[in-house]
Structures are given as structure tokens and as C-alpha cells.
Symmetry: C2
Subunit: 238 residues, 2 copies
């Protein structure tokens, strides 16, 4: 049976990291909440009293009897079947570690526009957002992307991939992180990119993977917008 | 060889989640940065140019040739050897998912006192901290602890443990989350605890595990303080 992905329709959000892994290899999956009746099915799984492994929040994956939430756990689960992990156990642990660090960066990117509460609108926390975002742009983007640059530079098999010598879900996730940061903070990213050439090259390499390239041209790829993790507010990117 | 844990000395922080797993079962480990010369060894691993899997940040674990950062990845790695995971693959995925959600709660607890930047002092972001913390106390603590309560209530083997019918690292981590929240927000937690009786009972059960009880009485348990994740600022807990 095809994998079933459950995530809010209408935004890339955290679900996009899972979509990209499937699309990279052409795996069969259903983006359930974007199908007729799918949102109701998602709500039933989220709130159903019989669900013994209730997701804390979307995205979550259904694979047969398994229901798995948390992007990093989902990718770790599907990675071997998709061929998106190294063959060795140490390489798989490393890939997962990189993904967890990407997840940390994503959470911080979200909090630039929601530094006080997710339950408030951006418009209700603009002063705090401006202050937090300045630190994110000046300190955190360079720290995170600098670390990925170091990881690529030190890969014993060369800088083409983050872990091992072939495409992994960490690569597709770093692509999405860079795309999201470019959308949200174009000026910052343009000024900074000289410091992370290997990251930029990896972004380009992932974009050229046939499955990813076809996906990015398709209607399945929801455009970035101001409902997702990565939001472009010009005042936050001077 | 004993496990080597690397973490900042002088605070519980994220390292404590790893310490508790070791202490629960009496596993041999060295808390390297608290030994003579240990901080230099930690710095060498963090900054060493030959490290092909560089930790993004402490805590990290050394297990033979493996260097693993990210608490959830560390616990997933040591869990089977320590006997702190269910036997079945589905149960292990579930345990990891719960741990990842605990990690999310921990990150949000940190950001209550540092809503703008980790690089600033709390004193430089008190107004924002007050505002963020109010949402954390009123919305996020009930949401997180309510979810753990649901997980315990729905465990098919009974509410004694989060995953399966024996102690896992998710249990020891939830103990630490509750302890930390009680330290940081004693009034909030006292007022709220009627809503999560199974969580409280699990906290008590973990505290009574012989290895944990001995650890909590020992000098190895660093007291909570205002350098760690969970900080008590009375103005944030009216």
C-alpha cells in the first residue's frame, strides 16, 4: 500500500520535508488532506480516542498499521525503503543527527515571525519578531549553514552529499531549508552565501534530481506563502 | 569501554536526559567535562578539524568510534543496550517519537526565558520573556502534559509507562521534564497537576527507580539553577 502523509493542506510547512523524500525517488504516496474528505480523515486520526499512538501534531505518516509523527522519525522510518540513507549503521545515525539539526533550524526559523506564541498572529508580535529575527539573521543562519558547510567539507567521500556518497533525506531536507531561508530572507541569504559554497552547490544538485525537478515544476509543489514555516515579511529582511 | 558523555559542567541542561538513562540502569559512563582536563577534551572534539561527524552542540556521546549528538539520537542509540526500549520495532519508533516531542517541549521551556536570543542575557529580554511565558504557561504546558496524559491513558498495557509495559528512556525523560517545569513554574504546575494525574504518577514511579533514587541523592545530580534550560524567575510564575 502507498504511504499516506497527513499534513495541513495549503502550505509547505514541515510536511514538505517528507514530500521531498518521496518525490526524490518517485515513491507512491497520498497527500491525504489534499484529497476529498482527507481533512476529516486527518482530524479523525488526530483526535480519535482509539488511536494508541496519537500524533502530537501533523505531519504524520501512515504505513500499514504504523502511525508515525515527527518529521525526523518519519524520515528515519522511510529512509531505508526509499534508498535515501547510507548502507552502514553509523552513516544512518549520522544522517538522522543532521536531520535533527535541520529540525532545530526550522523551529528557529518559525519563531522569527512567532517569537511570543503560535496562537497569536504575526501582526500581534511584530516588535518582538523584529528583534528575534535580527539575531537569527546575524547569528543563527551563519551558525547553522556554517555547520552544514563544515559537514560537507569533511565528508570523507567528498562534498557532494552530507552523509556518505549518495543522496539521503538529509540532502533533500537541507535543500528545503535553504529554499525556505531564501524565500524568507532573500537579502540576508544573498549577502551570506559566499560563506557556504558547498551548501549552495548541494542545493543545486538536489534541485536537479529528476524527481525533485519534476516535482518543483508540478502543481503538487505548493508555493511558499505566509501560512507556513518560512514567511517573507520584507521588514524582517532589510 | 564505558560510554563517554560530553556536556557543559555545572548545569543539568539537555545532558541530564542522557544522564538519567544511564543512572536508571546503573550503566557505566563518564561525564567527561566534569573530570580533570575534560572540558579541553570536549572542546577538542567540538572544534577538531579531523572530526568527520562534528557535533553541532553538546551534549554528545562517544561510544567507541561513534560520536553522536542530539539527545534523541543518543537515547535511541543507547536505549537497546540499556534495556530502556520496548522489544518490538513499532514500540521503539513510538518511544523515539515521544522523546522528540519531549525535546520540543524542552526547547520551548528554554525560550520562555530567552525568547529573543540565546546570546543575550535574560535581563536583556525580560519584557518579551514575560509575554512568551504567559502563553507557555497557559497554552503549551497544558497541551504538552495533556498529550502525555493521553498517551499514558491509551497505552494498551496500562498507564504505568509511556511505551510498552516497562521503563523506557521516554519515561525517564518525562520525569525530567516534569521536574524541570516544577522547578521553573511551581505555581503553574501546582495549579495544573489535577489535569495530568497519570503523568504525576509516572514521575513518582521514575523517582522511585533505585538507580534514579540513588542518583537524585548523590552529588552527581547538579541542582537546578539559572544556567540551565529550566530556570526559576518568580516574575514568570505568578
Amino acid at each position: 500500500m502507498a504511504y499516506e502523509l497527513f499534513y495541513w493542506p495549503g502550505l509547505q510547512g514541515r510536511g514538505e520535508f517528507v514530500r521531498l523524500a518521496f518525490e526524490a525517488v518517485g515513491a507512491a504516496y497520498t497527500d491525504v488532506a489534499r484529497t476529498p474528505g482527507g481533512e476529516e480523515r486527518m482530524a479523525a486520526l488526530l483526535d480519535g480516542p482509539d488511536q494508541t499512538t496519537p500524533p502530537f501534531a501533523p505531519p504524520f505518516l501512515r504505513d500499514g498499521d504504523l502511525v508515525i509523527a515527527q518529521v525526523a522519525a518519519i524520515l528515519q522510518h522511510v529512509g531505508p525503503a526509499l534508498g535515501l540513507v547510507p548502507d552502514d549503521a553509523a552513516g544512518r545515525i549520522w544522517t538522522h543527527q543532521i536531520q535533527l539539526t535541520i529540525a532545530d533550524a526550522v523551529a528557529e526559523a518559525h519563531d522569527t515571525h512567532h517569537p511570543i506564541a503560535s496562537s497569536l498572529y504575526y501582526e500581534d508580535q511584530t516588535a518582538e519578531a523584529a528583534r528575534r529575527t535580527r539575531h537569527f539573521r546575524e547569528e543563527r543562519i551563519p551558525k547553522f549553514l556554517g555547520w552544514f558547510e563544515t559537514v560537507l567539507a569533511r565528508n570523507p567521500t567528498g562534498p557532494a552529499h552530507l552523509a556518505g556518497d549518495r543522496l539521503t533525506y538529509a540532502d533533500t531536507s537541507l535543500f528545503q531549508l535553504v529554499e525556505g531561508l531564501r524565500y524568507a530572507f532573500p537579502n540576508t541569504m544573498r549577502r551570506g552565501e559566499g560563506a557556504w559554497p558547498r551548501v549552495t552547490a548541494l542545493r543545486d544538485r538536489v534541485a536537479a534530481v529528476p524527481g525533485i525537478a519534476a516535482y518543483l515544476r508540478s502543481e503538487r509543489r505548493i508555493p511558499f506563502n505566509e501560512y507556513g514555516i518560512f514567511r517573507h515579511y520584507p521588514e524582517l529582511d532589510p
